[in-house]
């Protein structure tokens, strides 16, 4: 799913409802060059703000469970690379029937679970059915509901029949953990096929991963990985400064960066994230029903200045919902320029020459209050008065997301490929363009990725021209690490954090 608000500190933890909206995974390139000799028996400590609520990603484990277990403990039939490409992982090969409805997967040989059991097609069937089961809280449940039947003609073959064509099917499969069908309750235990097996989990504190010696491929570079959990970015940075952790999965406090940048004991890297900060209009509520009004607001806000003040020059401007790592990315920043004169002209054309007043529902945690104040000041210059209403994540979920009772709101949308939500007129922001809805549907039923990409580019351009929302900026993905470690993911797209290549000297 595509909204999530738990990104910052203690108050943000309240956003459990939103935190459960799991994010995607993206294979990440090995980052950072280490100094010194690699110690294969090392324990790597990773500091994170996202503790899993339980260890099951179909049971509302939250973002943290993806970060710690995805790719490390559990593997899928496919995995996503850092550039957004889908690669086979537990599937050795697959064929698609000419009508695009039947997928036949052949499993890789010699795969065993941590418990010692051999991987068979029955485990894959079980894992797929688990995701779409009625009780499943999986973020991908809706996408994968196109699965009609899963058959297992032999232990090495899985045949999946879809109810309708779905070009994203293989991509969506990269979200599905293949679990041992005999494992039972996976909320506090784990049995996967990845390079690490679950170590000790101390709730509220840490989660350990131990190298799985029976791994079929390249063994994990370190003997142990321990995720240590913190509730705020300051505590996390202190732990890094006092050698309590070796690296931090995602730096949330730009103010602290200078302390690391000018210190040879640390390395700071910046990759691409998929997290967009949105000023989302209620496109079904006046005056935002009018394209001109939406464009006027977009033109009146200086995104660059906002990004500068919040992230001090890190991050990127985007003119639409599409981050550079999505296949249908185009630079559309020109469609959404900062131009107060244009804003005034558009307002006059729309019949609001004297401006208007609206309420901005603002989640209470960073960076929303800062962004809201900034936006209010900018819009005041073109005569638009903004009333800022600060709300908790829980209220946001009920008032804005469920009841759609708002004029405009601020929110982070973290997932890759979430442009498609503009094709759903019932989504909270209420954007309704039947042409766009049709393109989104057709894109999903495409025969080739090229066809899909072409259609979604059209969606991208149209939503940008119609200022369906105001896309303020794309977050940076900053990893700060001790110079003793190397091989960590730079982009860590969405929430995953592959730890198996991390080396420590």
């Amino acid at each position: 799913m595509n909204t999530r608000s738990v990104r910052y500190a203690l108050p943000a933890v309240t956003a459990t409802a939103l935190a459960l909206t799991l994010t995607a995974c993206g294979g990440a390139p090995a980052g950072g060059t280490g100094s010194g000799k690699h110690n294969p028996d090392a324990t790597v400590s990773i500091g994170s703000l996202y503790e899993p609520q339980n260890l099951d990603n179909t049971g509302g484990g939250g973002q943290g469970v993806t970060e710690a277990l995805h790719g490390n403990v559990y593997e899928g039939l496919f995995r996503l690379t850092d550039t957004g490409k889908t690669e086979p992982l537990l599937a050795a090969s697959h064929q698609v029937s000419p009508d695009g409805l039947t997928y036949t997967f052949t499993l890789r040989d010699g795969v065993t679970f941590h418990s010692g059991k051999k991987l068979t097609s029955a485990d894959v069937k079980y894992s797929l059915e688990r995701v779409i089961a009625p009780a499943s809280q999986s973020a991908r449940k809706k996408n994968l509901s196109v699965i009609k039947t899963v058959e297992t003609p032999d232990p090495k073959t899985v045949r999946v029949t879809l109810s309708q064509k779905s070009i994203s099917f293989v991509y969506n499969l990269s979200y599905v953990w293949i679990v041992n069908s005999a494992a039972g309750d996976l909320r506090a235990t784990a049995d996967g096929t990845g390079p690490f097996k679950l170590g000790k989990w101390t709730r509220g504190s840490s989660l350990g991963l131990d190298r799985f010696t029976g791994y079929r491929g390249t063994a994990a570079a370190s003997k142990k990985v321990v995720y240590r959990y913190f509730k705020d970015a300051a505590a996390l940075n202190n732990a890094l400064l006092s050698n309590g952790v070796d690296l931090v999965t995602s730096q949330q406090s730009p103010d602290a960066l200078d302390r690391f940048k000018n210190n040879p004991a640390y390395k700071v890297t910046e990759g691409d994230s998929t997290t967009k900060l949105l000023l989302a209009f209620n496109d079904k509520a006046k005056p935002f029903t009018d394209v001109k009004v939406r464009r006027a607001v977009a033109a009146a806000v200086d995104d660059k200045k906002l990004l500068e003040s919040v992230w001090g020059g890190h991050g990127k401007l985007i003119g639409s919902m599409v981050p550079p790592t999505d296949p249908w990315y185009e630079d559309l920043t020109g469609t959404d320029p900062y131009d107060p004169a244009l804003a005034k002209k558009l307002l006059a054309e729309a019949g609001y020459a004297d401006g208007f007043t609206f309420t901005l529902q603002t989640p209470s945690y960073d960076p929303h209050p800062t962004a809201a104040t900034f936006i209010a000041a900018q819009l005041a210059k073109v005569g638009i008065k903004v009333k800022i209403n600060t709300i908790t994540p829980d209220e946001w979920y009920t008032k804005v997301y469920k009841n759609k009772d708002f004029d405009a709101t601020l929110q982070e949308h973290v997932n890759d490929r979430d442009l498609v939500w503009y094709g759903n007129p019932d989504f909270y922001w209420g954007y309704n363009n039947p042409q766009v809805t049709q393109w989104v549907d057709e894109a999903e039923r495409s025969t080739t990725p090229a066809q899909q990409t072409e259609l979604l580019k059209k969606v991208n351009r149209t939503t940008a021209q119609e200022a369906a929302s105001e896309w303020l900026y794309l977050y940076p993905q900053i990893v700060v690490a001790s110079s003793k470690v190397s091989g960590y993911p730079l982009n860590g797209l969405n929430s995953q954090f592959h730890a198996f290549d991390i080396k420590k000297s």
Binding site: V13, A17, L20, G60, S205, G208, R228, A239, L241, N243
Partner: protein, 321 residues
């Protein structure tokens, strides 16, 4: 004394029962629905209804209450809504952080504050007596989280003598490592606690110093130290004991702040996480344990006071209690 203990125990149980009802009702008045925390954004109404049914939050309140208290009587704290793991064992694990932290901080504070308070009273006209009073006055104004952050910056981040936060993944398996993790939080809490304790000890000591019986004792030939030991300490300790009880209880409850500064997996952080997730069984469990602890501390303070001061027992001076 036996009758008193019996009556006091009955009162304790009654208070615990009342507190249980109150905390149960107050929790249900919190805005927000625990089912939201269990379902993904975009969940259908059926999914949310299923989540409510799964955790039993759709059942009538009296039924939920009797279910919970019934479990409690069997020593079962129920299962977390969010993780579906049992709450009781988790509370026990987290007490392994919070109890040593509170107890050590309390002991350290008493060890510092009792002598310091007496010195501040007895030597109030010297420079160090004045300094002690001044510093303790200042200490009362210092917030725990601020002091904690300063100590982290100085002793953990710069000097690297202590870890800046967290608790060893293996808990007390390596006691030295566990003690090192708790050192800074203990010092932080003890410093803040002793500041206010010094004030109380000082004023109790001042009362004693100006009392007739101490003058009499010295007039009868006792040394200051001897008179203080035989009569002064005992009298001064009566008001101090109730303050100690209150301090101990508030430290236990105040663990939330220091645990969050030092990223400790204690009872306090369990409570804040539970609250943020509307995880009623967790919140109820933690609050129940804390309430019980606070009531027990009050009970102990009363009993110790009666033991120390015979007047409270016989109803001679203070009247029957």
């Amino acid at each position: 004394m036996a009758r008193y203990l019996l009556r006091r125990s009955a009162l304790l149980l009654l208070s615990l029962g009342l507190a249980t009802v109150v905390l149960f009702i107050l929790l249900r008045m919190l805005p927000g629905d625990p089912a939201n925390a269990l379902t993904a954004v975009g969940a259908t109404d059926e999914q949310i209804a299923a989540a409510r049914a799964a955790i039993g939050s759709d059942r009538p309140l009296p039924e939920q209450f009797t279910h919970w208290t019934g479990q409690l009587l069997r020593g079962d704290f129920g299962n977390s809504f969010v993780s579906s793991l049992p709450v009781g064992p988790e509370i026990a694990t987290r007490l392994q952080v919070t109890l040593p932290l509170t107890a050590a901080a309390f002991l350290l504070a008493v060890l510092v504050a009792v002598p310091a308070g007496f010195i501040a009273a007895h030597r109030r006209h010297t420079w160090y007596g004045t300094l002690l009073s001044g510093v303790s006055q200042l200490g009362i104004a210092v917030p725990v989280f601020w002091l904690g952050m300063i100590l982290v910056a100085v002793l953990a981040v710069n000097a690297r003598w202590f870890p800046s936060g967290g608790f060893p993944p293996d808990g007390w398996a390596d006691p030295a490592e566990a003690v090192r993790s708790l050192a800074l939080p203990v010092i932080t809490v003890a410093l803040v606690m002793s500041a206010s304790l010094i004030r109380y000890v000082r004023s109790a000591a001042l009362d004693v110093l100006g009392s007739d019986y101490l003058r009499t004792a010295r007039a009868l030939g006792g040394t200051f130290g001897g008179a203080m030991w035989r009569h002064g300490l005992r009298n001064a300790s009566v008001p101090v004991i109730s303050v100690l009880g209150i301090e101990l209880a508030s430290t236990l409850l105040g663990a939330v702040v220091v645990e969050s500064v030092f990223a400790l997996p204690g009872l306090g952080s369990q409570l804040t996480t539970g609250i943020s997730q509307h995880d009623y069984p967790v919140i109820q469990g933690v609050l129940f344990v804390s309430t019980l602890a606070v009531l027990l501390i009050g009970f102990a303070a009363d009993v110790v006071q009666r033991f120390v001061d015979p007047r409270l027992r016989g109803g001679l001076a203070g009247g029957a209690r």
